[in-house]
Symmetry: C2
């Protein structure tokens, strides 16, 4: 069995299908990609797709999940860092802007403003991403509380939800280029407010 440089290499069909799907979804978006597009690129018959994935939606979600894991790996390294929690939060926001600014597929499904994907599958993909990112924030708060660098009085779930909304607003504004103030200033101000609060401190 020669498994050399043949471009139609005999890897598992589900792998080939997933890779073809990612390629087609990134080029045409969910709405315009057909099952025939995917299976032609994967070199399988149309019906074979349903041996491995339940539906067009299911293979799209698989692509979204794999794409998001790339982001989550980088983000987890930030969460595990040693800087103050607000600084790590700021870095997480920056990484999100950077990553989503380069990943049209994730961006389209999370913000839903393009013609590339809409309807139920877009909602599912967005919920998945939101939940995953919110979990990262929660983890960061719990770590901070364990390190005693975050006030113990803060409820981790509620704070994660609130901070997610905050970070998401900044990310959305940055990606839409629709900001009232420069991004750097917004991040700095956010860092201050989230870290130190508005009230005077007597540290």
């Amino acid at each position: 069995m020669n498994e050399g440089s043949d471009s139609r290499q005999p890897s598992a069909p589900d792998r080939r299908l997933a890779a073809a799907a990612e390629s087609q979804f990134r080029r045409f978006g969910y709405k315009r990609t057909t099952i025939d597009d995917i299976t032609a690129e994967a070199g399988t018959g149309k019906g074979s797709l349903y041996l491995h994935f339940e539906s067009k939606q299911a293979i799209y979600m698989a692509v979204v999940e794999a794409s998001l894991e790339r982001f989550v790996e980088a983000a987890s390294r930030l969460v595990d860092g040693s800087e103050p929690v607000p600084t790590r939060l700021r870095s997480l926001v920056e990484l999100t802007i950077e990553h989503y600014g380069h990943d049209e597929l994730l961006c389209a499904s999370l913000f839903g403003r393009s013609g590339l994907v809409d309807g139920e599958v877009a909602r599912m993909a967005a919920d998945f991403q939101r939940t995953r990112i919110r979990d990262l924030i929660r983890e960061l708060i719990v770590i901070g509380q364990r390190e005693r660098s975050v006030r113990a009085h803060v409820n981790a779930d509620a704070a994660a939800a609130v901070l997610f909304e905050i970070g998401w607003a900044v990310v959305r504004t940055a990606l839409e280029g629709d900001s009232q103030i420069p991004l750097e200033q917004a991040l700095t101000t956010l860092n201050e407010i989230v870290g130190l609060g508005l009230l005077p401190r007597h540290d």
Copy 2:
């Protein structure tokens, strides 16, 4: 001249047109309200509308501006209060939720999720509302800094922009009923983070 209880009372045509427009826009939304609807209710000819307002958009914006002033008056009373700034902020968020939950016309133009209004005029109306609310927040911060109850180090413009995004996210989530956590808890957590920050305090 008997100006008694006649329903077609001889008030100024621009007043009658504005009132008729508000009535029709609230009932049918911008998209479905026609100029004939408005002028029929106002008791004028169709062309008379253009003696007082430049376009359908212009009369809609006049209605939005008048409606928003009702909200701003109540909100200004909060801003001028004497409680801690984060508490006033929280009250402002609560008032916004309350007011927008009852004003479908403002809500539709600000959030743009209904079929009542869309396109350029919705953007204009939303920008107007955002700017006005952001100004209220800025005023609150400046007052707090003057009272020395807000840290002087915070840039008022940047903080107003960031806090607006924060409050807006909470308002939107509350009105969409799509929250991960109870609203009361979100408001409490928001109050804590915005007021005290995440970092330990040695007050």
